[in-house]
């Protein structure tokens, strides 16, 4: 599923995040998928996205430079496929 800047998303409640030197590992206890979050910024976005109305708000709050938004949107879209995050609206 593709997310946009206006999407409201949250970390899936069955996912745990473990910090690692490269970023973090995310594990989904339901579908048993293990996913690598390969930058500390994407880890912060994923952890805090549930507190914001849209991804745009999350990026702004976490200080993600606008030039990086497209690559973040792409990465987050793939995280919906593995159900690490889910779209609320």
């Amino acid at each position: 599923m593709t997310v946009t800047l206006e999407s409201a998303c949250e970390l899936h409640p069955q996912v745990a995040i473990r910090p690692e030197p490269f970023g973090a590992l995310a594990y989904h206890y339901g579908n048993r998928r293990l996913v690598f979050l390969r930058h500390p910024d994407i880890v912060r976005v994923v952890k805090t996205m549930g507190e914001h109305k849209t991804l745009r708000d999350t990026f702004v709050a976490e200080g993600v430079a606008e030039s990086r938004w497209p690559s973040f949107i792409e990465a987050l879209s793939s995280l919906t496929t593995s159900e690490i995050i889910r779209v609320l609206s």
Partner: protein, 375 residues
């Protein structure tokens, strides 16, 4: 998003393992000829229930997401359910390997009621003759009965785990069909010359032509078949198979054996690859993060004799354990190197220099014969 490849980062190690195998006991009702841990008899030094729970508490603090429990036959332990329940209660999912002997109707229902639990039934043939030749008389029927009980209890998708040998490689399609008929998932792994497998590897390991057959089969079916990423040495044939293309020993993988010794991977139960013990000061965390052995394994490794081979990036020199237990240098080709570089070296290895497993818990031959007669 990062300056280093993921593979590079993984080789430098993680704060905690991704794939941790924990063999709960050396006791086993079977005596498979390829047993990686030479299991059979319980070891008096095996961890107590309280010690095992303390290790689980430590793994929970490290955020180890799941563990692979094996043995021996783990269900032989009287505290098996207690240990599994403690693990799951601490958010450590459990996948356990079993020969199925203790999955009667009652236990199948108990297992079905548990969350975050995966079961792997070991099966090495789609018929009793092929399977029992490796796993022992009656073991095929035992496994099928366990699978029937799990199905009847509504467990859902369990796994059928197959070690691919020269004798069952032609049954891959049948294994898949068998798994499908149970709504199960098929897992196939590579035969290693570890434990008793060191003595039978010559007769059991797939021929070079069969390795190509496995590779082609995985390319066609790989998406739905689990492999534990154990066939990465076959990537030298061409297109890479799905999964992590690297040896994770001491970097993302390790083994805790029944007495708490920590080894670099489940296939190297040998003093050379023992990093420490979970009962020592600092526990598992210290062994994982600070032990000399694991530190060394996370340093850049030399490609050695393989450096000039065009396939090295694809196969990474293969499996450390397979090299070690066939007496080949660790910085050279895998004994099953698909280009044949390893095979030509094997005859020149003096038998006296081939390392033997450091521990052997096999039942005495007398007991084996007796139990054969009685079944």
């Amino acid at each position: 998003m990062s300056s280093h490849s993921l593979g590079q980062q993984m080789k430098q190690g993680l704060d905690a393992p991704i794939c941790l195998t924990w063999e709960l006991t050396y006791a086993c009702n079977l005596a498979c000829v390829h047993c990686l841990s030479s299991s059979g008899q319980r070891d008096d030094r095996e961890l107590s229930t309280e010690q095992a729970k303390a290790v689980l508490d430590e793994l929970a603090a490290l955020q180890v997401f799941y563990i692979n429990i094996g043995g021996g036959e783990p269900m032989i332990r009287r505290d098996f359910f207690e240990i599994v329940e403690h693990s799951i209660a601490n958010n450590i999912g459990v996948k356990f390997s079993t020969n199925g002997a203790f999955i009667d109707k009652k236990n199948a229902e108990r297992l079905t009621a548990m969350e975050y639990l995966d079961i792997q039934i070991s099966l090495d043939g789609t018929d009793a003759i092929t399977n029992d030749a490796v796993r022992g008389d009656g073991s095929f029927d035992t496994a099928i009965r366990a699978m029937d009980n799990l199905k009847a209890a509504g467990f859902g998708q369990f796994k059928i785990s197959v070690v691919v040998t020269r004798h069952n490689v032609d049954q891959l399609d049948e294994f898949k069909a068998l798994a499908d008929s149970y709504g199960a998932q098929l897992r196939i792994t590579r035969l290693r010359p570890a434990g008793r497998g060191a003595d039978t590897w010559d007769e059991l390991h797939p021929t070079n032509a069969q390795q190509r057959q496995i590779y082609n089969w995985l390319l066609a079916h790989g998406e739905n078949v689990l492999t534990g990423d154990s066939f990465f040495h076959l990537n030298a044939f061409g297109e890479s198979l799905p999964g992590l293309n690297l040896c994770g020993a001491g970097r993302v993988v390790c083994l805790i054996d029944p007495i708490g010794d920590v080894y670099a991977c489940p296939f190297v139960i040998h003093d050379t690859f023992k990093a420490g013990n979970v009962l020592e000061d600092g526990g598992f965390t210290h062994v994982w993060r600070e032990s000399d052995l694991f530190t060394e394994l996370r340093e850049p490794q030399s490609a050695g004799a393989c450096a000039s081979c065009g396939a090295f990036d694809a196969c990474q020199g293969g499996c450390m354990a397979a090299k070690f237990f066939t007496g080949l240098p660790l910085d050279g080709p895998d004994p099953e190197c698909v280009t044949g570089h390893g095979e030509v070296l094997l005859p020149s290895v003096p038998v006296s220099l081939v390392p033997r497993p450091s521990m052997d818990h096999s039942k005495p031959a007398r007991t084996l014969i007796k139990s054969k007669v009685s079944t």
